[in-house]
Amino acid sequence: MSLLKIENLKVKVENNLILNGINLEVNEGEIHAIMGPNGSGKSTLASVLAGKEGYEIVEGSVWYKGMNLLELPADIRAKEGIFLAFQYPVEIPGVTNANFMKTAVNEIRKYRNLETYDAMEFLNVMKEKAKLVEMDTSFLNRSVNEGFSGGEKKKNEIFQLAMLEPTLAILDETDSGLDIDALRIVANGVNSLRNEHNAFIIITHYQRLLNYIIPDFVHVLNKGKIIQSGDKELALHLEEYGYDWIKQNGIINN
């Protein structure tokens, strides 16, 4: 079933056209990888889907579960099952991870007319999900991302993903700056969370992560446009040719 449909999306930031006619359809159960050189618009696409302010939609539309996504505020998108794993997770001194997740999960459950968790249930769920990303439970009582290493921040994003169980998860360069162990942990987290009812959009600069998370589709973004789509082989070709080649020649012929 179609989950997300992006049609001819054009987006400006401070008067520069960053996305120049994106078309993309994501169905339940699929993993899509979006690759592209720096400045191609990958992160802008992620931010626009998650509902960050400061972007001017010039043209096009985004349909998510039959809703006009661009009209929804960011928190409603999250409540409807959209999750963005940030490239640069924000530090929030004074708010503990536990309190943050408890607030988020309960807000989402309220929205979905589900019972909110009591403290004990919640703690057990958090401990279980923390195990998934191999985080010591002591991190739950630390302030959100404050003083976390790069790897810890990214693991915390996957922890939150596990807690919120989204329908559509967008990972914005989650692999950047990760060592091989953290990369494996992040990938295991994603693989264990994927199922036939959810979907992932994995934005990455490198092919590396795609050795661990096997995508169904790979799209190449350049100058705000998807210039080529294919299967996982495309990522390998891209690795071989490099982005310079694609910038000059456009499409890679297998």
Binding site: D75, A78, F86, I92
Partner: protein, 444 residues
Amino acid sequence: MTQNIQNIGLTEIVARYYDDILESSNSAYMPSIIDIKKKSFNMLIKNGLPTLKNEEWKYTNVQFLNKIPFTFERISYITQKADNLIRSIINKLSQKNYLVFFNGKFLEEYSKIEHENIEIINFKLDSNSLNPLIISSFNKLDNTDSFFSLMNTILVESGIFINVPKNNQIDKPINLINILSSEEKNIITSTRTIINISPNSMLDLIIYNYSDNKSSVLNTAVNDISLNEGAQLNLLLYQNEDKNTITFTKTNVNLEKESNLITDTITFSRGFTRNDLNVNLTGEFSKARFYGLYIGKDKSFIDNHTRVEHKVAKCQSDEFYKGIIDDSSHCVFNGKIIVSQEAQKTNAYQSNKNILLSENGIINTKPQLEIYADDVKCSHGATVGNIEKDAIFYLKSRGIDEFTAKNLLLKAFAIDIINKIHNQDWVGIIESDLVKLLNLKEIN
């Protein structure tokens, strides 16, 4: 001594009171006390009520005080309301160790102290013998004295002297609870607290100010604190006063060798508050860490002036004040660091962070550094901003609505300071007062 005076100006009110006490034949002050009051009065007349031209009062307009008809009347009979207030506060304390004051007057019947190794004296200036430490504390007049601390010296009649003898760790905190309440009359109250911590002793002290007034109350407080060699003081000053309360505090702390001050100044008052905190590092390896949090609501005015003077080498000062400015409130932070020529190897840090929530709010923040030594580490910084947009988006992207996200972030900004308070009873009390003051949603 009871009289009502209409609009004659604050200086004149103090002058009439001064004439009254010194010329009345039944004045029972010791000659040394009369001498101190005289000196203070002369200085007060010479300085006058500060104006905006005075650098230390640049953002702090006190001229409105001239328009309030204050009376000297002492209102110290306990109303039912005051009784309820006192009991509700006492009930919140897990360790029942407190001295209660009402409109500046010590209430023995409400107070309860269980300490053997500590000397607590409710001194009266008209008694014929006073501890020499009390007299020497009153004698410390200098150029950091303002109109209001001088006024305190002139008007004050009694006070509290706490003396911790050598090698005593007083683990049970002492709470000084100051309640102000006046229903009709505009009154002036004065409190004086003198603390001496002898070598290698330790004290936890909380000074709590609460008021609920229907008329104006002008309250001056002077706290004079001496930390002798190796002494430590944890001091919390928590001010939660209503819109009719005008408070001036001056806290002087003198630190001898290897002594340690940890102090937090929390101001939630809705009236007019000016705090002067003067920290003098006079012995090597002494350390002072002073943090603060102020919340400006409605039309409140809150001014925190701090002054730390590194007089000798190898001392450390760590200052961190945070403020939230809402509605039409006006807050001032002025932090002065003086490093004298002898004070080599000084470490001095200062930071002031503000969140300005309203277009009508005003914050004046001013760091001042005077460094005369060359081998020092000093840093300072001041910021004024709104709640961080990136942080709001981060929370929203996790399904938290904008209102709740702002709530959470605002609370977190303040909790950062509150959580560093040493006393858990007061962490709880202050946190719940914060939630009420900022109309925060309780998040569990």
